[in-house]
């Protein structure tokens, strides 16, 4: 064990810090510390421009292999990059679904043709992705997807029909990865395919969903004879569930590093306000701040421990990774509550304008969804108990057709 960074890594840190210092200025000044959780609808255009700027500097997809446009950065360097990025106030990354989820999945499971077709757009920050998993009848029961994909021999294309929901940033995205049923007679996780679908086509309609924040970061997506090429299926028909679950492994991997740094920024803001408005004098508040800080460190160290022990580059994590979503989501929800209690009565007053939440208010509301999306806390506990601890599963009920 060695809990420090090498001189080479520290030089890397200086390089990152210098680049951010030189570039996160001017037109990008206003996006500093913006676009994080609950703020993802803000400065979309400017943040997309920033994504391309990052790409020019070679700071997107740094953990990817060099053959696909990455830097093959070590875990240490990815940690350092994320630390410096957060410290500089780097905005929420518009490309994070492509870099963190779609890209690694294509690298792990995709064909050579798919890699050539899709990875460059992610690396250079031009093409944005969204995730077509949930449906009205397939939330916690994700395998219950009803969206269908049928191969049209005449056109030589896959034709997709159905509806996705809670699709984050679909309205800004160029592509969507979609789980759809390739075998119309199949049920549950069998008979699914994993498709790469272009959003800008007549068969795809995106309707924003208004959230309790009054903003619309996620959407309903309707596929009405939407098409993708014969080669835009990742793996074979029937492999969809395997690919989709492989992707979720990436969600719990290195993509968590940047998130924790955003958390640190939020907690620091809460501490700043507590000192400023006197809430820090309240011993109950002090204890909750200390608790929050301690738990964030736990999260951080546990990520380091898991990533250190990670073998290979396929992003798959060991059993302890199962605990992560439950812990961070619950922690973040508590941070929201702490932020409101620190602000006191002022927490209820909005900024002037049309339902203008301030940063901590939108964080508070957004954290209500943290324990729901990407697998609810209840589903996470089932996974920990059943897959992690080997406790017996509930008796299976045959899915309705």
């Amino acid at each position: 064990m060695k809990l420090s960074f090498s001189p080479e890594d520290e030089r890397f840190r200086e390089e990152v810090a210098q680049w951010l210092n030189d570039n996160l200025t001017g037109e990008f000044e206003k996006v500093r510390f913006r676009g994080g959780p609950g703020d993802e609808h803000m400065f979309q255009e400017e943040r997309h421009a920033w994504e391309k700027k990052l790409a020019e500097g070679g700071w997107t997809c740094i953990g990817w292999p060099t053959e696909f446009g990455g830097r093959a950065s070590s875990i240490e360097q990815q940690v350092i990059f994320n630390e410096e990025y957060a410290r500089a106030g780097g905005p929420g990354r518009v490309g994070h679904i492509g870099e963190g989820l779609a890209g690694p999945t294509i690298i792990a499971f995709g064909s050579q043709e798919q890699k050539e077709k899709y990875l460059p757009g992610i690396v250079n920050g031009t093409e944005l992705w969204c995730q077509g998993y949930s449906e009205p009848g397939a939330g916690s029961d994700l395998a219950n997807v009803k969206t269908k994909a049928r191969f049209d021999e005449e056109k030589g294309k896959w034709v997709i029909n159905g509806q996705k929901v809670w699709t984050s940033l679909a309205h800004e995205s160029d592509f969507c990865f979609v789980i759809a049923r390739t075998d119309p007679d199949s049920v549950a996780h069998k008979g699914l395919g994993f498709f790469l679908v272009k959003m800008d086509q007549p068969g795809v309609e995106v309707r924003p969903i208004e959230q309790i924040t009054g903003t619309s970061e996620f959407n309903e997506v309707f596929f009405d004879d939407a098409e993708c090429d014969a080669n835009d299926i990742v793996g074979e028909p029937g492999d969809g569930w395997k690919v989709a679950m492989g992707l979720l492994g990436f969600e719990r991997g290195v993509s968590t590093l940047g998130q924790q740094m955003q958390f640190q920024n939020e907690l620091n803001e809460v501490v700043r306000i507590a000192k400023e408005n006197g809430a820090a004098q309240d011993p109950v508040i002090r204890q909750r701040i200390a608790q929050s800080h301690a738990e964030l460190k736990i999260m951080r160290y546990n990520s380091m421990r898991m990533l250190s022990g990670q073998s290979g580059s396929d992003g798959s994590l060991q059993k302890e990774a199962l605990i992560y979503k439950l812990f961070w989501a619950t922690w973040h929800r508590s941070l929201g509550e702490l932020a409101m209690d620190v602000m006191g009565p002022e927490s209820q007053i909005l900024d002037p304008g049309q339902y203008e939440l301030n940063r901590l208010q939108s964080m508070y509301l957004f954290t209500r969804s943290d324990t729901i999306y990407g697998g609810t806390n209840q589903i996470q506990r089932n996974i920990i108990a059943e897959r992690g601890l080997g406790m017996p599963k509930e008796p299976k009920i045959t899915a309705k057709t």
Binding site: E210, P352, Y355, I372
Partner: protein
């Protein structure tokens, strides 16, 4: 000892509950978000007819001459429907204060009469809150400065609207100047009245929080029966049952301390601080837990503007910080408990009897 309500109290509350359930719906609340004042004069008139604005107004001033303990169940029902109109502030906060001032200032006599008949509306400011709610529809404002209580016509103050996280709430920063004319009371009398006002208001707020909490649980229990995943209602899952069971426990226990607090502000107001803060904390905790567990059981649907749940969640979050946030009330509990003369002996179930 009798820790129950009388049949009359229960019947009256039941009839108000029926009335409110018919008049105030998520649809009507959403409509009010788009209206100019966010308030319905028509609904106010109906509530006046039912005697709600005059419930705690003495009979001599045309009211029903009832007391706080008679109103607490009504306040719960106002919370249950997330009533936007300030009936709890009017009946449980404004009129008892005016009543206490009847002997000091004749203006309060006519104000009481006019509030009871619905002719006049009065909003109230207090050091516990930064802002004054519903000042825009008020004819008069009761405002405080140090130990003084002042009465101003709305025409004599400047209002600056502030938005709340709850779109139903209408809050205002009030700029005003005190003078001899506006002064109603000063000195130690003022201190006592301000303290009593805070306690009544906190009980009224706690009652609304409890009503909101029960409503959220009711909605969520229904939703978990309707929504299916894995081929069965999601409420079949033990995890969700436990979420709702935890809320039910909080609600029932909050009810006991709430009703105890309402009794105390009615019968022994000078000993009310502990019971009131206890009730505000218990009801706030219950409502916050109900909001947290309800949205969790609703899943992503509960995070949408379209789903009615947020109407109730946001009211709960707002009221939890109104008339003393949890830190304020916990501090009062600490102060009371750690006092060398704290009445915490075994024989002190109901505190000081005198």
């Amino acid at each position: 000892m009798d820790f129950t309500f009388t049949e009359d109290q229960l019947l009256f509350a039941e009839s108000i509950k029926d009335f409110l359930q018919n008049e105030v719906t998520p649809e009507s609340i959403r409509e009010s978000w788009d209206s100019e004042t966010g308030r319905s004069q028509d609904l106010w008139n109906k509530m006046v007819e039912l005697g709600l604005t005059g419930m705690l107004v003495p009979e001599a001033q045309g009211g029903l001459g009832m007391r706080e303990i008679d109103f607490v169940l009504i306040a719960q029902e106002c919370g249950r429907v997330a009533l936007p109109e300030p009936i709890v502030d009017t009946a449980m906060v404004v009129t008892p204060l005016l009543k206490d001032l009847v002997d000091k200032d004749p203006r309060c006599v006519s104000l009481l009469e006019k509030v009871a008949t619905g002719e006049t509306k009065v909003a109230i400011g207090h050091a516990a809150n930064d802002l004054v709610s519903d000042a825009h529809i008020a004819d008069y404002l009761l405002l405080t400065q140090g130990h003084q209580i002042h009465l101003l016509a709305k025409a004599d103050v400047d209002l600056e609207a502030q938005q709340s996280v709850d779109p139903s709430r209408k809050l205002f920063a009030v700029k005003w100047e005190a003078n001899d004319e506006t002064l109603l009371i000063n000195g130690s009398d003022g201190v006592g009245l301000l303290a009593a006002t805070l306690n009544r208001a906190a009980v009224g707020t706690a009652a609304q929080l409890l009503g909101l909490s029960e409503k959220m649980v009711e909605m969520t229990v229904q939703y978990t029966q309707d929504r299916e995943q894995f081929g069965k209602p999601i409420g079949t899952n033990q995890a969700l049952k436990h979420h709702m069971a935890n809320c039910a426990v909080k609600n029932e226990f909050a009810k006991a301390v709430l009703h105890r607090a309402a009794y105390t502000v009615t019968e022994k107001p000078v000993h009310g601080d502990f019971a009131v803060s206890h009730a505000k904390l218990a009801a706030g905790e219950a409502a916050n837990l109900a909001a947290k567990n309800s949205i969790q059981c609703y899943g992503a649907m509960g995070y949408t503007w379209e789903c009615d749940l947020h109407i109730f969640m946001k009211r709960a979050w707002a009221l939890d910080k109104f008339w003393g946030h949890s830190g304020f009330h916990k501090y009062r509990l600490h102060q009371w408990l750690m006092n060398p003369n704290a009445k915490i002996g075994a024989e002190m179930t109901f505190g000081e009897q005198a």
